[in-house]
Symmetry: C2
Subunit: 147 residues, 2 copies
């Protein structure tokens, strides 16, 4: 049970702090950042919305709304798919890439600081490996910085 409580509390502590910084400095939430990041690393900087939703663990509805916000800010555009009319792509704009880059400076440093404050490199690797088992994802190295 300790691990469960630790996961809840640790998650809350970290996301609150990092989200507050991101919102205050750049007007982006953690999920906004994650979406911009995923797009920045996708071929042609575009992804189907359904794939994006799956990647950031949101529903179709959630991704629609989140992307509406980013589109309103000029950070993403929509693009149609030539072979499937059901599909709409989310495309990262130049403004979006700039935004991501500027936000990354502080965000990545913040994450590093939070973890380095508590863990050695070995411990961090252990933690990462253990946590990756929870949702079956592969450990994802240096995943926080845009290309």
């Amino acid at each position: 049970m300790s691990a469960w409580v630790g996961l809840l509390r640790g998650h809350a502590a970290l996301t609150r702090a990092l989200n507050a910084d991101l919102v205050a400095d750049h007007g982006l939430t953690l999920n906004d950042y994650e979406v911009l990041l995923r797009l920045s690393r996708a071929p042609e900087r575009k992804m189907r919305r359904v794939d994006l939703a799956e990647q950031v663990l949101l529903t179709a509805s959630g991704i629609t709304r989140l992307l509406d916000g980013l589109q309103a800010s000029g950070y993403v555009d929509k693009a149609a798919c030539s072979s499937d009319a059901r599909v709409t792509y989310a495309v990262l704009t130049e403004a979006g890439l700039e935004k991501l880059r500027s936000a990354a400076v502080v965000h990545v440093a913040g994450i590093h600081a939070k973890f380095a404050e508590h863990y050695s490199d070995v411990e961090l690797a252990t933690l990462a490996e253990l946590l990756s088992r929870l949702d079956g994802s592969e450990p994802d190295g240096e995943a926080c910085k845009p290309e």
Copy 2:
């Protein structure tokens, strides 16, 4: 960065699954359960709302609304403090205790299953210890079951 991504994804995967079970089977959210649990283990099964908010990592506003819901369901009552008129206690009712006990059967088993699925006992203890550093909390043994 892997640990950060693992924390986000692991947290999402676990809380989604466990919350869905709790809501479907008992009409309680994870935070509802946690509040009932904390009250069940408090002296006289009552706590100041401000302390409860701090324990479950909610704001005063958040705990007010959460307790409103539990009170409407008959699981908690309010009680005044004889020595400080600012303070209102949240008190667990008998119905609340019963609810907690019945929910605990499935919830605790669910948590155990999720963790045992991925970790040995030693790994679990390691994970718990590492996670507890994130918000400076003490490891909290067998904290998920009501008294």
